[in-house]
């Protein structure tokens, strides 16, 4: 692992995110718009004993953890787009003729995506705060929430790679990525209470464990609660499988 290469790649990826309008839209404006919409729509609807947490407060309060998770999932889109775009432009091949290793290459994607995950947490956090959301967690709990988001960003990269493997070109990738994003948003984000049978499906998706743990952490559940740690363990396993699976499949079927 050479620092010069990793730095160059991370810099490149950050520039790609900032300079390409679609990706900037997806990673920054989409989470902002989503949080604002949900906040304005559901921020003043106060309910009692709502959802599995039996919360009393606004419906928006119940949604916030899921909004964090969904925002991080959006990262699958720029990953899918950049891999299929770079492949189409012959840039992946060109990079392949340089001495850079696969570990450096994927490592840099992990770093830049984790950084983006943190920025998204901060953005969604600020907007929800402005809309009246007050998490009930201690500093340690909030810190652990960041860890969940960073682990989850591995899944997002994996979903992006799987998309780029299936998609023949960037346009197709922009559509196909929803195969991975939409069901998770609907069934695993915890934005609204679901019947138990439907929720069971969501439990086969990594987003569920982020949303679940963040809900616990933001509601002041003690860190000793085993459910949080089970969430983390399952999320790590899911994320590693999707991340490594994405790399292997892209390498095998997606490079041409």
């Amino acid at each position: 692992m050479k620092r010069q290469r990793i730095l160059a790649l991370v810099k490149l990826q950050v520039k790609a995110l900032i300079r390409v309008p679609t990706t900037l839209f997806i990673i920054l404006l989409l989470p902002i718009a989503l949080t604002l919409t949900m906040g304005l729509a559901f921020g003043s609807i106060v309910v009692e004993n709502y959802g599995w947490t039996n919360q009393t407060g606004s419906i928006f309060d119940f949604m916030v953890p899921g909004l964090f998770a969904i925002s991080a999932l959006f990262m699958a889109m720029p990953v899918a787009l950049s891999f299929s775009e770079d492949r189409e432009q012959g840039l992946l091949k060109r990079i392949n003729t340089t001495p850079m290793t696969a570990i450096e290459f994927m490592g840099s994607h992990v770093i830049s995506n984790m950084c983006m995950a943190i920025i998204q947490v901060i953005i969604v956090g600020i907007i929800s705060f402005l809309l009246g959301y007050r998490p009930d967690g201690a500093i340690a709990g909030i810190t652990l929430a960041f860890v969940f988001m960073m682990v989850f960003s591995l899944s997002s990269i994996g979903f992006g790679l799987l998309t780029a493997t299936i998609a023949k070109n960037p346009k197709a990738a922009g559509g196909i990525v929803w195969i991975f994003m939409f069901p998770q948003q609907m069934l695993a984000s915890g934005l609204y209470p679901l019947p138990p049978e439907t929720q069971l499906i969501g439990m086969f998706m990594p987003l569920y464990y982020v949303s679940d743990a963040l809900t616990l952490l933001f509601n002041g559940v003690a860190l000793g609660n085993l459910r949080i740690w089970w969430d983390l363990i399952i999320l790590i396993m899911f994320s590693l499988v999707i991340f490594i699976g994405g790399i292997i499949l892209f390498k095998k079927y997606g490079k041409a």
Partner: protein
């Protein structure tokens, strides 16, 4: 062990084989579900290229030039045969080979959202070139090819010829001893093309080994020490341009090219 002439990073060749490149009975056959009929893209080619030589790989469209280059720089695996670059076997020591080569692909491959300088710097960093070296070479190359004025504009706004120039510079940023140039001058206007020829010629003075493909036969005649003409994946002629012109009693290399690549059609293949 032979030390290459490259000054920046003391790149070392893998053996004391004087050949920069050696290709032995190389074959690449495309088959599989994406291919209707088996394609023999490269069909038993052998040649070797000396250190410091500019070697032209000529042939009609689909002859197998890009395929040969892609095998040599490790982008695809050959079906059969052996290939050595800098004394290293492409099947075994690809990592070593990647330290020695610069590749200018047939299609311009640069980041459109970066400007010329950023593109060059990025690839320089991947080759671990020192920052001062990157800056110095970037300015020199951009200036030599007349791309300096546009170098702070994003590549998205470049014309076809400008992209090709950038494509070429990116291949050279690591000052590699072995350089693959796959149709580097396509789409350049005559003036820029001549500037580029001079530029490529100046690399020869630095004892670089260059593998050049081109459809501008006069380009090959002007630049190359030797050329190989391939067709249907087979090597049909190899030698110095002058030699071949004499041998075929032609007025220039282009006539040689027309004579020997057209032969198959005339003979009813």
């Amino acid at each position: 062990m032979l030390k290459s002439k490259s000054k920046n990073n003391n790149l070392t060749f893998g053996s004391d084989n004087p050949n920069a490149i050696e290709v032995i009975d190389l074959r690449k056959i495309y088959s599989g579900k994406n291919v209707i009929k088996e394609v023999k893209a490269v069909d038993g080619i052998s040649f070797s290229i000396n250190k410091g030589e500019i070697f032209g790989l000529l042939g009609p469209n689909g002859a197998g030039k890009t395929t040969t280059i892609n095998i040599l720089c490790g982008l695809i695996n050959q079906t059969e045969g052996d290939a050595f670059v800098g004394g290293y076997n492409v099947k075994k020591d690809l990592n070593k080979i990647k330290e020695l080569i610069g590749v200018c692909p047939q299609e311009a491959a640069v980041y459109k959202f970066l400007n010329a300088k950023e593109n060059i710097e990025f690839f320089g960093n991947l080759h671990l070139v020192k920052k001062e070296k990157i800056n110095e070479r970037t300015d020199r190359f951009l200036d030599l090819l007349g791309l300096l004025d546009a170098s702070n504009r994003k590549a998205k706004s470049y014309s076809g010829g400008m992209l090709r120039q950038l494509n070429l510079i990116v291949a050279l940023i690591s000052d590699p001893p072995i350089i693959f140039l796959d149709e580097p001058t396509v789409g350049m206007d005559p003036r820029v093309r001549r500037t580029t020829w001079k530029f490529i010629g100046s690399l020869k003075e630095q004892n670089k080994t260059i593998i050049l493909t081109t459809h501008y036969i006069e380009e090959a005649e002007a630049l190359c020490d030797r050329v190989a003409i391939i067709d249907y994946g087979k090597l049909i002629e190899i030698g110095q341009p002058k030699e071949l012109i004499d041998k075929y009693n032609a007025k220039d290399l282009e006539e040689v090219f027309m004579k020997i690549t057209g032969r198959r059609i005339l003979e009813g293949f």
